[in-house]
Amino acid sequence: MKNKAEEFVIGLEIHLALNTKSKLFCGCSTNISGVEPNSLCCPTCLGLPGSKPRVNKRAIDFGIMVAKALNCEINPRMFFSRKSYFYPDMPKNFQISQYELPLAKGGYLKISEKKIGIRRIQIEEDPGRLIHVGGDITSAEYVLVDYNRSGIPLLEIVTEPDFTSTGEVKEFLSKLSMILQYLGAYDPKKEASMRIDANISMGGGRVEVKNITGFKAVESALSYEIIRQRNIMRRGGKVVRETRHFDPVSNTTRSLRAKEMEEDYGFILDTDLAEVAIDEKWIKDLENKIPELPDERVRRFVEEYKISERNAKVIVYTDKAFADFFEKCCEIYDKPTQVANWMVTDLLKSLNYNKISIDESEVEPEGFVEILKMIDEGKISGRIGKELVKRYVASGKNPREIVEEEDLTVLRGREELEEVVKKVLKENKNAVEDYRKGNKKAIEFLIGKALAKTGGRADPKLLREILLEFLK
């Protein structure tokens, strides 16, 4: 049972790797996955003395676009600041971030009828990647450092503590990730491209959980932390204010030694970097480049294709490629409702089963539409259609070819079906009796049996016709 004292609020700090080609302050490539450690570095991102940062304009552009999409107010003058701390992930002993005058503030993002406030958005450099050797973060003998990641531009988005359930957090993050993908500012496939710190406040205590990477981990981390805090309160204890570290292997959080308070970071403006003045024209030019965003796309799908809002939402919020797939199908096949229904049920189910996204699969709009067309033509039954979707997703083999090769076309020979029906009636005397006693639903059972006997190839309408005749 949940009582009032156990109510909680959650606020997030989300770090997203911006999808630039080069790093924030130097020309090193951001394409770091699968390369040798410390092979994409230069004096600047290694923090060598005398090196100077040079701002990547595209990172600022992306920041402005995201800030606009999240209804934020953009500061006309922004500056970079140095955040001093002594971890080996930042070799110059400070991280270039923002503090006094960040990129933007005061926005919101709407999720199911609720607005989540955005407190601020800032641009900063990613630290290097640490590998803890001989233990975990608190017990390792030493750390190995890879500075390939150091200097990749991050957008830090800080929300108000407006979340009251983990479901809301999930919805918010998926929507945010989707918007950034539409803006081209973010690629979720890049490793560790979304990292989250969460603040959970219950009964007055505020706990910050760090090191949460990606969507799924958020849910585990928050669920664990909420239960942990609730248990403390039920035992009559008090939740202490502290920072905890999420361990994705055990799905638990653990206390970290008290870290520095904000004033201990000794923020100072970075005099190596000039002011960034953002005027109306710059913002307008970028606004013109903002493409149709997910919510608008849902609305357009409902209006233009007359599909249900529910289907439109599922299609758009599955991922961008999935929504593009829908539109491509509609270009070559004039029945959007059919396309939508098949996509949100059978296609999505098969993709999920195979744990792939539409663009990772070999499914093409042409092949998918072929299945629907074959059903329209009466060439195959709906049941075979479902089977074909499964096999198309799993193998990538053209559905029409499968049908030709394996002879899956609808059985139309009335005599052949009559034979099947006769057998079914003989084998299911109970159902026949039920039907005759007035249980008309029994016929569905018999149709099912007959369909199964034909391997799903019979036309159910024809089967019903024959059955009705025989049962008279």
């Binding site: 090193c28 490539s29 290694l46 304009k57 608190t138 750390v143 005099t271």
Partner: protein, 93 residues
Amino acid sequence: MINKEIVRHVAELARLKLSEEEIEKYSEQFEHILEAFKILDEVDTEDVEPSFHPLEIKNVFREDEVESGLSQEKALLNTKHKEKGYFKGPRIV
């Protein structure tokens, strides 16, 4: 007022190990330094725009283009603390 506690805290943030005599000495010196800077408080800045940067330059950017950097070997050249292409460092917490 500067006391030993503040000096200890600042030393810890800067990862400096100070002896008791040094803490004593710096407490006094900190006090003098702050005293000296107090002169700035006497300047009337009522109608003066805040200054964030010594130079009045703005919007100095680089285009988003990849440039070549250092090889792994060169990146690790100046350290003896290395292993399998990584830098070695102390545990962080």
